[in-house]
Amino acid sequence: MRTEDIISKILFLCASFSAVIVFMITVFLLQEGVRMLNPSFLFGKTWSPHRELFGIFPTLVGTLCVVAGAVVIATAIGIPSAIFLSEFSPFWVRNIIKSSVELIVGIPSVVIGFFGLTVLVPFIRDNVGGRGESILAGWIVLAFMILPNLITIAEDSLRAVPRSYREASLALGATRWQTVRNVVLPSASSGIRAALVLGVGRAMGETMAVLMVVGNPETPWIPLGILDRVRMLTSTIAIEFSYAEWGSSHQYALFAIGVVLFFMVTALNFIATFVIRRKNIQ
């Protein structure tokens, strides 16, 4: 019994470790960043560290624009694809496509960024206009990143709907699509929504791939069109952290951006967990 107790204590310590890490991250982000968290930081319109102006509003809006567009694109392609795979495709087709999609979940983002930089940006510049580096390029690159994950999770939640539901609906004379729309999708919706929320979080936290294609203007402005260049919260940290002097308000401002990111992603996580939990209760 003694050894059993010791083992359980050790295991508890291990389990607490990730909590400790998160706790430490939170504490140290807040400690460095909280002094900059004020309305003029969140709603200030100018980010220009050498003039001591730290307003992240345009960056925040830019980030949300890029993330929202990417999620919309990924949803528009991903959800119907998932419906097709789980409800309409022959088994062997589904197997091939599904396992190929699963294979590229989490493909290194720097490779996607490389693609964006060398193919997408020149393509947009030559065929759509602007400098190529744009919100549009950010959309496509991020959509690439979240699409495989979205298809996989959405397809899984669709397939988790018991077959008896489908049979019951079909037996009442409903068509396949009516069945999908009225029975399968509602039952799977919480899983799909959770997948979407997690996709938003993932897109928001992505650094490298978007950094390479969104343009990062000297002083970001609130974007007015899809060819405008923006900064992301993450890319601002990535570009500027290496030279922000110790103890300068610039450094605290970058930590404050970290705090904002942290809370947005944690909130999304909370929502996703809540959605999933509600599904489980049903």
Binding site: A15, S18, A19, E102, P108, S109, V111, P148, W177, G205
Partner: protein
């Protein structure tokens, strides 16, 4: 027959989107392979980088391997132990719910934030410098929640009957876990660990801040050596290399990185598909 027509229309639409997925998703892989194969040569794989555009990527390949192996060495045992605690020992109380929530939070943490933390805490505060060790530990923070989640799922799938049978033989809880639960859960755990390794090997922001942001021309000799990695190489060459040679090398490195990544996800899926099915029977 309006419904039948609608059904047809919907089907058509679905065919279009799935066709779009089929065309779009492999584009990057195909693009990298098509452009990268020409770059691969013995010299490229075994040489070291020279100025920005020339030479090989041997230190980067080794750096990535070292980083990921070390990160797995830290992250996997810790993650598996945590999962065992959460699924076998923890009763549902405030402490475990907190631990679980924090674990989920860590999973969603933007990698740049983890990198910042690694830089401040490991590099500056613990004075590890930008090094193999700092990079590997930071990567393991990122990998940890995924390992925990996958291991927990794998452990929960193990039927209750196995545990009962073992306990009824007079085994202690820990003996049961070690001899029955873990062996049965290992395929699932390995799937999770491999997927986590795939995430770690492609991660750029974290290694940039903690392991080394340069074009290292040497294989790390100690844990404190700065360490180059494939993602960092690709980032540097893709953004700064402006000549045909540079582009070619970036393609070659992308291909190598992709092959390593796919090797991990293929083996993960292989293990999952060939094993978990068996367990279910």
């Amino acid at each position: 027959m309006k419904e039948a027509q609608k059904e047809k229309a919907v089907r058509g639409l679905l065919y279009v989107t799935v066709g779009l997925s089929i065309v779009i998703l492999p584009i990057i892989v195909v693009w990298v392979i098509a452009n990268g194969v020409g770059a691969i040569s013995l010299g490229f794989l075994t040489g070291r980088p020279y100025r920005f555009e020339y030479g090989g990527i041997f230190p980067q390949i080794m750096g990535s391997i070292y980083l990921v192996s070390l990160c797995t060495l830290f992250g996997a045992p810790l993650g598996i132990a945590s999962a065992i605690y959460l699924s076998e020992y923890a009763s549902d109380n405030v402490v475990t719910r907190t631990v679980r929530f924090f674990t989920e939070t860590l999973a969603g943490m933007p990698s740049i934030v983890i990198g910042l933390f690694g830089l401040e805490f490991l590099v500056y505060y613990l004075k590890l410098k930008t090094s193999l060790l700092a990079g590997a530990i930071s990567l393991s923070f990122m990998m940890l929640p995924w390992t925990i989640r996958a291991s927990e799922e794998a452990i929960n799938v193990v039927p209750k009957e196995y545990r009962e049978a073992s306990l009824a033989m007079g085994a202690t809880k820990w003996q049961t876990i070690l001899r029955v639960v873990l062996p049965a859960a290992i395929p699932g755990i390995m799937t999770g660990v491999l997927l986590g390794m795939g995430k770690a090997i492609g991660e750029t922001a974290v290694v940039w801040l903690t392991a080394g942001s340069g074009l290292e021309a040497f294989v790390p000799r100690t844990l404190k050596s700065p360490t180059g990695s494939l993602p960092m190489y690709i980032y540097l060459i893709a953004t700064q290399g402006h000549t045909a040679e540079g582009l070619q090398n970036a393609f070659g490195a992308s291909l190598v990185l992709l092959v390593m990544f796919l090797a991990m996800s293929v083996s993960a899926l292989f293990i999952r598909n060939h094993y978990l099915r068996r367990l279910g029977s």
